[in-house]
């Protein structure tokens, strides 16, 4: 839950990148970190295993300037996607304000995407939150792989599997090349801010 500090005129907002392991959540944050390195004054925090897999979370604070006179500090987090890390995944979701669900567009990952979205729903329920109420954006990642002839899920399939009930914004993207990474982030920030802006007065 966002914290509004009337004394410092500051709002802290928590956005979590969720999705199956190896889908590209960490790569999204790495791209944002590089792209905006002039605006991000601190190091990106990552807690990972020797094999470079996210063990707990990645964390990137991102200042977007003023909204209604308040300094808005966006805190971007990723969760560890591997199934066995559910306990830590759930911890990262605590107090979440907005979610980017990073799906892996590779055809072989279809089942993993669906299971991960279901897992998100269960973990949110743990905090009495609903995937239908929290601001959420879908990202269909790795579309660059089409060029290499790797079979991808058609957008209709991804929408049918993941977005038929959510009916939210979705972006085909490539975290590796940066396609739609910033667009995804901007969308979730604006949706999340819209949900709290009335409380800034």
């Amino acid at each position: 839950m966002a914290f509004v500090n009337p004394k410092k005129k500051e709002v802290q907002v928590k956005i979590v990148y969720y999705g199956p392991g190896r889908g590209g959540k960490t790569t999204n944050l790495e791209y944002i970190y590089q792209k905006f390195n002039n605006r991000i004054k601190t190091e990106m925090v990552t807690i990972k295993t020797h094999g470079d897999r996210t063990l707990f979370f990645d964390f990137l604070p991102f200042d977007i300037g003023k909204v209604n006179g308040y300094d808005v500090k966006i805190q971007l987090y990723t969760v560890p996607g591997q199934v066995k890390y559910n306990a830590t995944r759930r911890l990262v979701l605590r107090g979440v304000d907005g979610i980017v669900f990073v799906a892996d567009a590779m055809a072989v990952r279809r089942e993993k995407n669906i299971l991960s979205l279901k897992n998100l729903q269960e973990n949110l329920a743990n905090y009495k939150k609903s995937v239908f109420k929290v601001p959420i954006v879908l990202q269909y990642n790795k579309v660059d792989l089409a060029e290499q002839g790797i079979p991808l899920l058609p957008l209709e399939t991804l929408n049918k599997d993941l977005n038929s009930r959510l009916k939210t914004a979705s972006f085909p993207a490539s975290a590796l090349t940066g396609t739609n990474v910033v667009a995804t982030m901007k969308k979730i920030i604006s949706m999340t801010m819209a949900s709290i802006i009335n409380e800034l007065k």
Binding site: V11, V45, F59, D97
Partner: protein, 134 residues
């Protein structure tokens, strides 16, 4: 959804952190919530830590230890202490949603620190509870 504390409460909390902890030699103290938001922070002016990253890691760390407590059948560990060669970190839970984190060097004994932290926690608890009740 968001939540807030009034200017008066925040002033009160900062004053307590300053007087009861910083003025007695603690280097840096911050009050955070379990989502990793910083509610208030104070330091002795000599150090500049990346407080937002510290808050995110502290909330994660405390959350992980609390989950471990549940697994072994302990309700919770209400405080944690990490000892370094020169710097130490102490975590203390306040009500269910907040954490007080102090960073202090070896010039201060752990016993004294705990005493001061306990006093601080009691005072801050009253402020936070009055807000929750209202």
């Amino acid at each position: 959804m968001s939540y807030t504390l009034g200017q008066e409460q925040l002033d009160g909390i900062e004053e307590i952190l300053q007087r009861d902890l910083i003025d007695v030699g603690v280097r840096c103290v911050f009050l955070i919530d379990m989502a990793g938001n910083i509610i208030a922070n104070r330091d002795n002016g000599k150090i500049k830590h990346d407080v937002y990253s510290l808050a995110a890691l502290a909330a994660g760390n405390f959350g992980a230890v609390s989950a471990m407590a549940k697994i072994i059948g302990e309700g919770e560990f209400s405080l944690l202490f990490h000892k370094g060669k020169k710097e130490n970190i102490h975590f203390n839970k306040i009500i269910t949603e907040f954490l007080l984190i102090t960073i202090f060097s070896n010039d201060i004994s752990l016993g004294f620190l705990r005493l001061k932290v306990n006093e601080t926690v009691e005072k801050i608890k009253q402020i936070l509870e009055s807000v929750q009740a209202s």
